[in-house]
Every structure is written in C-alpha cells, then in structure tokens.
C-alpha cells in the first residue's frame, strides 16, 4: 500500500516563526499536493508539484512556499507564521495527471500558531 507520511501530528508555533511541514511518500508518485482543512471550508489547495523542482500555486498560496528537491519529499514552508494559519494541513500524492487519478493522503498535521 502507498504510504504518505507527515513528519508531525501536532505542532505548536509562535507568530513570526518559520515553520516547516514535511511530507514523504514511498510509491514513486509524480504528483504531490498540500491542502489545508478548516471547518466549513473543506480542503483548499495551497501548492502542488508535478515533478522534482517543479511547483504550481493552488488556490491559497499566500503566506506559503514549497520545496521539492527529491521526488519522494514535498515540504511546505510558512515563512512567518500567523494565527490565521492555524489549521489542519494534509499532504497527498498521486501517480499521474489524469482525470481519475486517486489521491493518497497523509494523516495530517494540526498546526496551532499562538
């Protein structure tokens, strides 16, 4: 089975800190995604990547950046954390860009910014 691993389950940071959220997948998937999940808003796409060193903005990229130096690893960076970035962050991967591609998700990182 595909495994998508997010490095932290819970994270507490202070306003202004630089935050790194790490995601690793073990199935050689081309595509990786970062979503945030907030009550009543569903999952919103922050950034995605179709290949190493490639990145594309999603719907809400402001305040975030990403890094994909290796195929299996996709990092989400909060340059200067703010309280409105308190959220559940979900990483996902998929094999190829296709209409019916199946996304495999990690278990999520609950980030609290104080």
């Amino acid at each position: 089975d595909v495994k998508v691993t997010q490095s932290s389950r819970y994270l507490v940071k202070r306003t202004g800190e630089k935050v790194f959220l790490e995601c690793v997948q073990d199935m050689d998937h081309e595509n990786m995604f970062w979503y945030r999940q907030d009550p009543g808003l569903g999952l919103r796409l922050i950034y995605f990547s179709y290949d190493v060193k490639m990145k594309e903005k999603g719907d809400i990229p402001e305040g975030y950046s990403v890094s994909r130096e290796k195929k299996e690893r996709f990092s989400l960076i909060l340059e200067s954390a703010s309280t409105n970035q308190t959220s559940m962050y979900l990483c996902a991967s998929s094999y190829q860009v296709a209409t019916n591609e199946k996304l495999f998700f990690g278990s999520g990182t609950q980030l609290s910014v104080l």
């Binding site: 979503y35 569903g42 979900l90 998700f105 278990s107």
Partner: protein
C-alpha cells in the same frame, strides 16, 4: 476559490437508518470522486464516477452522478457506526478540488 456545496453539513442518526448526502455545483465536471475521512486520518477514496447518470454501489453505499454532471449524491442504507466520518466530494475539471463536506455521526 470555488466552493462546492455539500448538504447537509452535519448529520447525526441512529444505527440502521438510511441517509442521503448531496454535492452540488453550477459547473460541469468530467468526473467526480467521493472520499471518506475518519477522525485523525486523511481522506480515503471511495469511488469515482465518470458518466452522467452513472450509479455505483459499494456495499451499502450508492453513488450517483447527475445526468448533467453538475451534482452527485451518496446514499447509505442501514447506516452503521463504522460509517461515521466526513464525506467529501471532489469533482474533477483540471485540478482536484473538494466540497465542504458532510460530517456524519452514526450512534449505536
């Protein structure tokens, strides 16, 4: 950012009851996926529907894609506590986007 409306937002029922949840949009989609997210976990794919009017069954779950491919429904027969979770629709038209979700609680 496009938001896909799912209804109801919350549903709390007793074991054995039937229920239907809906996913609606004004846009036409090439296909649509349904995911279930259990507490403390990421979403897991349940089904993909592709053709307008298509019906797919997964044990006690019945998924239907609207004729015009703008909406979808999920019907659960004889709900069980194991069905508890957040149900998310994810229509496809280019990148993957998600609906707002229906949170289902089934009590024994």
């Amino acid at each position: 950012t496009q938001l896909l409306e799912q209804s109801p937002q919350f549903l709390s029922i007793q074991e054995g009851e039937n229920l239907t949840v809906y996913c609606n949009s004004s846009s036409v989609f090439s296909s649509l996926q349904w995911y279930r997210q259990e507490p403390g976990e990421g979403p897991v794919l349940l089904v993909t529907v592709v053709t307008g009017g298509e019906v797919k069954k997964l044990k006690r779950l019945t998924f239907q894609f609207g004729d015009a491919r703008k909406d979808s429904s999920l019907h659960i027969t004889a709900a069980q506590p194991g069905d508890t979770g957040l149900y998310l629709c994810a229509p496809r038209q280019g990148k993957l986007i998600f609906g707002t979700g229906t949170r289902l609680q089934v009590f024994p």
